[in-house]
Symmetry: C2
Subunit: 180 residues, 2 copies
């Protein structure tokens, strides 16, 4: 993994891919699959929606840290698999052969197989809504990787894989944040 300038990190989540959120509760690593995420600011700030029914919730609240790891289309079976079991009774890193890597800012692990990882601190938890607000503090991208296509959950058991990329940079110049 090589460092990605932090001002570019929001571009990893803005397209709405399915992601993993990793935590470490002081004893073990865990990961959950979610697509309920949102960019809230370019600095970057993100929101995720989850709740007490999720095993990662306790670790998010206690440690106030996590990593957003971004898997790719070739990893779809692991993406679904991680989402279908619970950290309460499963070591997901072991079961799915995911390799944890130390980041620089938080104790939650990066995932080596992913296209990118964003280290985050929890800055707010809006309890009645289950919204966790995250400040990205470091970002990493895989240096060499063929498949960079992310997947987008539809919610009905199907997933849309990234297709063609089109540019409107010249039309949008006035609104693209500095450094992006």
């Amino acid at each position: 993994m090589k460092p990605l300038p932090l001002e570019k990190a929001f571009t990893l989540l803005e397209p709405g891919p399915v992601v993993w959120v990793t935590t470490n509760d002081g004893q073990k690593n865990n990961a959950m699959t979610i697509s309920w995420t949102m960019v809230m600011d370019f600095t970057p700030v993100f929101a995720i929606t989850t709740g007490p029914w999720n095993h990662s919730w306790a670790a998010l609240k206690a440690t106030r840290e996590c990593v957003i790891a971004i898997p790719t289309a070739d990893m779809i079976d692991d993406v679904v698999g991680v989402g279908m079991c619970s950290g309460a009774d499963t070591d997901k890193f072991e079961r799915f052969g995911l390799t944890p890597m130390a980041g620089g800012q938080v104790r939650a692990p990066l995932i080596k197989q992913c296209m990118a990882n964003i280290e985050c601190r929890v800055t707010d938890i809006i309890e009645p809504h289950g919204i966790v607000v995250l400040q990205g503090v470091a970002a990493w991208v895989a240096a060499r990787r063929k498949d960079r296509r992310t997947v987008h959950a539809v919610g009905d058991g199907t997933f849309i894989v990234d297709g063609e990329r089109i540019s409107r940079r010249s039309m949008m110049r006035a609104k693209i944040p500095p450094g992006v």
Copy 2:
């Protein structure tokens, strides 16, 4: 537009497409382009992040209603165009040739050219974060339409168009909500 069962409406936003949010302040229609959206529940509940710098903010706060309209890849220039001007000085429906249609539940307009529209009521505004929480109350899809590919903003002026769709419905059966 034909009605879409409300329990399926979250599947329109779950993949993270760029959308338009329309409002009507009692005098005129407006639309904004955003990709800062998140599903929060299947019922459906959504969040969007915006703020007072956005002309639609006042209408969202005053009327507590909006429509989430979902454009497709063939409409990319209008998607960008709507995002690059302000309702403060522009009638965006007129300028971009968008056709407003009456929904059944809210005064904000559906957009006829879109692949789908979701009528929403504002149920909460979390001011310090600029998060607007929306309850979907009716959903509509275009009955006949060739291009159903949505676009995903990267945030750097480029957009990813929907590619191949893959199914993991059998793996995910236990977690797919009823009616989806």
